[in-house]
């Protein structure tokens, strides 16, 4: 059967694909501003190297493992190795009106940014070689299978009816809880807890936040895979949740002292991460609730982490893992078929079972991502080591790992 290509849909997803690519350097800036000046280049590199690393991995085999023909609901087959047969013809299983290759490229940008998110856990001390190896393993053994489970045709969580519009499980919960596991293994930065480790350049973080917000329109609205009403709704819910979370975070920060710029930026990203799984299924007002609740959840998650003296350095767990966990659960409450006929109703619309399905999706993702990452990190730590030497850490990774400095 022939599926005609829609120029409108194709044009829109081409734009979204570019927007989501932009999120990776945006994340590099977001993170780069929060570390010390001796580790800025290192932190930037940890993020944007994925444009290269996954840019190759995804073409060679990543896409095939995630979206290839289903094998027992667990993994995709090898039919699409090297993008073989992934061309201009639409793949009606995933998107009927755009070239299959565009769907695959759009999905690549998600695969690029997700492992980049994890790097916030281990900045300023990770050994670059070990990081590269871990990242390739993680993309292959965690991202690709999980992506298949949730989004791949025949994936077992998808078959179960888990609602994850744009990557609450696959991207944010997976990255957040992997970050937590990695931080537990690699241990804190030298001096963590005994003196304040201050951000070197908050303007860089604010720049990154702005670019992330724009990119997130591509991320969420693009996940409609068409230029239609669901895409527009996703764009509006995304904006609304980020706006509400930014405001609430500002208030929380104000109550604790002053309305901090870094806090407001953080709140905005938390709102974006929270609404991601629900963005194509809920109304703008529901998105406002999602953002407003996500802010204190992540805020006090950071506090909890600090109290436990855990150096999950840039709070990937608190800001992405916890926010999107709430977003997944919120989808179980607020999802409505009136927004998206391909979705489902949530508890507030007479379908309490959806909440249970969402919780299963969350629990499976947390257990899988945390467990696999903990295992891989432990194995690497025991063999080639995850950390640079104490003196290299002291000097800073810009010089010791890359032989460069950010500012001279």
């Amino acid at each position: 059967m022939d599926y005609p290509i829609s120029a409108g849909d194709t044009g829109w997803i081409l734009v979204c694909c570019s927007f989501v690519l932009l999120m990776t350097p945006a994340l590099a800036f977001f993170y780069g501003g929060m570390v010390r000046r001796k580790n800025v280049l290192s932190t930037l590199t940890l993020s944007f190297i994925f444009m290269s690393l996954i840019g190759v991995q995804w073409i060679l085999y990543g896409y095939s493992l995630a979206f290839g023909p289903d094998i027992k609901g667990l993994i995709g087959g090898l039919d699409f190795l090297g993008f073989r047969g992934v061309g201009a013809e639409p793949n009606p299983v995933y998107a009927k009106t755009i070239p299959h290759q565009l769907f695959a490229a759009f999905q690549m940008m998600f695969a690029v940014i997700t492992p980049a998110l994890i790097t916030g856990a281990f900045v300023e001390r990770v050994k670059f070689k070990s990081f590269l190896l871990f990242s390739l393993l993680w993309a292959t053994l965690v991202y690709d299978p999980l992506c298949h489970w949730v989004w791949g045709q025949g994936g077992w969580l998808k078959e179960m009816g888990v609602l994850d519009f744009a990557g609450g499980t696959v991207v944010h919960i997976a990255a957040g809880f992997s970050a937590l596991a990695f931080a537990l293994v690699i241990g804190p930065r030298k001096g963590h807890g005994s003196f304040p480790i201050e951000p070197n350049n908050i303007p860089l973080t604010v720049l990154g936040t702005g670019l992330l917000w724009v990119g997130w329109f591509g991320f969420n609205a693009g996940s409609a895979l068409a230029a239609n009403g669901v895409a527009v709704n996703a764009l509006v819910t995304t904006n609304t949740s980020a706006a509400a979370a930014g405001l609430v975070w500002m208030l929380l920060s104000w109550l604790d002292g002053r309305p901090s710029t870094l806090g407001i930026a953080t709140g905005m990203v938390v709102g974006l991460a929270a609404v991601t799984p629900a963005s194509g299924f809920v109304t703008p007002l529901a998105a406002m609730v999602i953002g407003a609740v996500a802010a204190p959840l992540s805020y006090y998650s950071i506090r909890l982490r600090e109290r436990r003296r855990l150096d999950e350095s840039l709070d990937v767990w608190a800001c992405h893992g916890m926010a999107s966990t709430w977003g997944m659960i919120a989808a179980g409450f607020f999802a409505t078929l009136s927004v998206n006929a391909d979705g489902a109703n949530g508890l507030f619309f007479g379908n309490p079972a959806q909440l249970g399905i969402q919780l299963i999706g969350v629990a499976v993702t947390i257990a899988f991502a945390f467990g696999m990452t903990y295992l891989m990190a432990r194995m690497l730590h025991a063999s080639i080591g995850l950390r640079v030497s104490p003196i290299e850490e002291e000097v800073g990774l810009d010089i010791s790992s890359h032989g460069e400095r950010s500012y001279s």
Partner: protein, 126 residues
């Protein structure tokens, strides 16, 4: 006799202090951005979620080498222009200087520290 002043002042008082010194004819000086603390201790800043304490504060150090006869005037000018009355106004150290050699002219000793229009020339005119 030559003396050296090392005055640690507030960042936001730099222009006032420079103006104050210029007014009395102290024209040669070096400024450094330094970090440290005295009685003020530190300051509380707001982070991502909540506040944290910073112990080393940014300050400006003003170094001046001058003839001993001008020392009191310079110190008074700095005190007058750097003062707010709150902790953190800073501190002034004074120490002896063995010698001064101007590289371009190879002038040596106190004579090397005289500038056109400075405090000494003004005294002469009067």
């Amino acid at each position: 006799m030559l003396k050296k002043i090392e005055a640690i002042i507030r960042e936001d008082k730099v222009n006032d202090v420079m103006d104050g010194l210029n007014e009395i004819g102290i024209v040669g000086m070096n400024l450094f951005e330094v970090r440290g603390h005295g009685r003020q201790g530190g300051v509380q800043l707001v982070g991502r979620a909540g506040t944290y304490q910073v112990n080393l504060l940014p300050k400006i150090q003003v170094n001046i080498v001058l003839n001993e006869r001008n020392l009191e005037a310079a110190i008074n000018a700095i005190i007058k222009s750097a003062y707010t009355g709150e902790t953190g106004d800073g501190i002034i150290f004074v120490m002896p200087v063995d010698d001064v050699i101007r590289i371009r002219t190879q002038e040596q000793g106190p004579g090397a520290m005289i500038y056109p229009g400075d405090i000494d020339e003004r005294k002469k005119k009067r």
